[in-house]
């Protein structure tokens, strides 16, 4: 609707119009992708999603059995976001993410045994047991780590992307954070800075609709987080984060935009976490019905159905991928449990680089 040539009297109406104009519609995945993506890619996506789901279920099980020290933040229900976005990357591309980061780490190609080892605090873990579930990084694999301070990875992402730009690298960075982080000052400073310098980064909001107990609707007065992009003069899009192909499509476009030197964009990946915020959460702030509703929108079951409906795979093939993931997870956990604990000796020598 044209909003030019309005008079002062129309101002209230104009503001409403403008607000509606910038609140983007939620984008769903296109059927066309199923025809263009190689079957191996689609199989890889399903495999990773299953691995993430089984990893987290196993992690929860290890925790319940008292084998895990500390806490964990599970992303069960959000697997399409991490897999759909990372599936768009080239192997040399980079990610930086957050405390709910098992999914991103697995999608980026982490060794499952090394991941469990870190989760269990073992010396053989990715961070040698120093980081744990909340801080898994696989630097050589292009996973530049998870930060436990909400929004804390976003300014660091600016620096990573700045280094890529200054070195004239072809690589891009995906920077993940949650809906809660988009209310942090660091979010604002960083998206603005990345925008003015046209840095090769895609900001991805893993919007699971809760900052611990606070629903996004209570935490902000806008419909879609992606509308915040307009404040920084960058593209913003809200996608159905339970539709792995929708995520893929949106992040691929944003990645190409970044790769071509046009700068960052913001993808709001709308999903839901089935489990509580962390181990202490008793879900007092939401109803069992709400959780059940979202379980019916399970991104893995949905993707399997899409693959079957399009006859990309048979039921047996789909189940074979699922079972292989389960076996791989069970094996990885078993092996990691046998690894030795780190030694507390000489810890202070590790703090500084030589």
């Amino acid at each position: 609707m044209a909003s030019d040539n309005v008079t002062i009297e129309d101002s209230e109406d104009l503001m409403t119009k403008l607000k509606n104009k910038v609140d983007k519609v939620i984008v769903s995945g296109s059927q066309q992708l199923l025809n263009t993506l190689p079957r191996e890619k689609l199989a890889w996506m399903l495999q990773r999603m299953c691995e993430i789901r089984y990893f987290e279920e196993k992690a929860e099980d290890l925790y319940v059995r008292g084998l895990v020290h500390g806490t964990m933040h599970l992303s069960i229900g959000q697997e399409a976001g991490s897999v759909g976005s990372i599936a768009t990357l080239k192997p040399e591309d980079l990610i930086i993410h957050h405390h709910r980061g098992h999914g991103h780490t697995i999608a980026k190609g982490a060794n499952l045994t090394t991941m469990f080892a870190e989760f269990l605090g073992k010396e053989a873990g990715y961070c040698r047991g120093r980081g744990g579930s909340m801080h898994i990084a696989d630097i050589s694999g292009g996973n530049l780590g998870a930060t436990g301070v909400v929004g804390g990875g976003i300014p660091t992402a600016v620096g990573i992307a700045l280094a890529l730009q200054m070195r004239r690298s072809e690589q891009i960075l995906l920077s993940y954070f949650g809906d809660g982080a988009s209310n942090e000052g660091e979010f604002h400073e960083s998206l603005n800075m990345a925008s003015i310098w046209k840095l090769p980064v895609v900001f991805i909001c893993d919007n699971n609709q809760y900052g611990m107990s606070m629903n996004v609707k209570k935490a902000m007065n806008i419909e879609n987080i992606s509308t915040r992009a307009s404040s920084y003069g960058i593209p913003g899009k809200t996608v159905d984060g339970n539709d792995v192909l929708a995520v893929y499509e949106a992040v691929m476009a944003a990645g190409e935009y970044a790769r071509s030197g046009k700068g960052p964009s913001l993808i709001d990946c709308l999903s839901y976490r089935w489990r509580g915020h962390s181990k202490s959460d008793r879900n007092l702030y939401r109803t069992p019905q709400e959780i059940d509703e979202w379980k019916h929108k399970c991104p893995i079951r949905r993707f399997k159905q899409v693959l079957l409906d399009a006859a990309v795979m048979t039921g047996d093939e789909v189940e074979a991928i699922d079972q292989a993931a389960k076996v791989a997870i069970d094996r990885a956990a078993e092996e990691a449990l046998t690894f030795p604990e780190p030694s507390p000796e000489n810890m202070e020598d590790e703090v500084y680089a030589l």
Partner: protein, 333 residues
Amino acid sequence: MSTETKRELTYLEAVREAMVQEMRLDKEVFLIGEDVGIYGGAFGVSKGMIEEFGPERVRDTPISEAAIAGAATGAALMGMRPIMEIMFMDFLTISMNQLVNAAAKMRFMFGGKCSIPMVIRAPSGSGTGAAAQHSQSLEAWFVNVPGIKVVAPSSPYDAKGLLTAAIRDNNPVLFMEHKLLYRLKGPVPEESYCIPLQSAEVKREGRDLTIVAYSIMVPRAMEAAEKLAAEGIEVEVVDPRCLKPLDAETIIRSVSKTSRVLITHEAPLTGGFGGELAAVIAGSEAFDYLDAPIRRLAGLNVPIPYNRTLERAAVPQVEDIVAAARALALEGK
């Protein structure tokens, strides 16, 4: 001081020269901060640098201290060697999450598989009439964070050598530049050189007592020592130069020799770095040589006031050091 040079630079020029020489040497070194480009930095430290290195490596930023710190941290994580300038040390409060929770911890937290080679240049201290939010000395906060090094040079020679070492160091280094020292002149060799971090220096030898001082307190302690010498009290002045890692040995050796020690800094007394120095000395062999209690002379426990008289009274001045050192030299005699 080992230099034979006759060339003199100000402290400010020495800081600039270290940056310029390192940027010529290593293309991964760059400067990032508010108004560091055409403006030349709020204090003029980077004046002329954008002409030589261009706007990409002498990079102006919006007023976004958290993002500046993040930009430096992320670039360092990628192996570059950013120098971030914060306009006033006070504004590091806005950068703290990136510096304390990210830059300082990443190496250890990620199992030693990365390093964060960056320098945080921070103009510190009072004496300019800038009042409570532009005059602080926040070194004690950073000293207490594993993963960060803290340097506080007191002379042009030290500023250049320590900054060169800080830029080449593979860790986050907080580099405190006292605003009142910027105009201080002293000999600085033209060629590049490093002063190793963790190397204290005896700035003046003396037998009667040791004053441990850093940053602006060093010239003040030197002036106090000169006055006390006229009274027959021979003061030894030791400058740790780098607070963390600390060259405790040089300090302990001096105190063991003089048997008396006065520790002085500008930051407030309570929780200040002087407490750490006192504990290091008290816990060492120097304890057996002490003829008097370890004394501290530091800033009052107040925000820095605006009024000239009040501001002066809030931090130790030369006459305060003279009085405290004289009393300590005579204590128990």
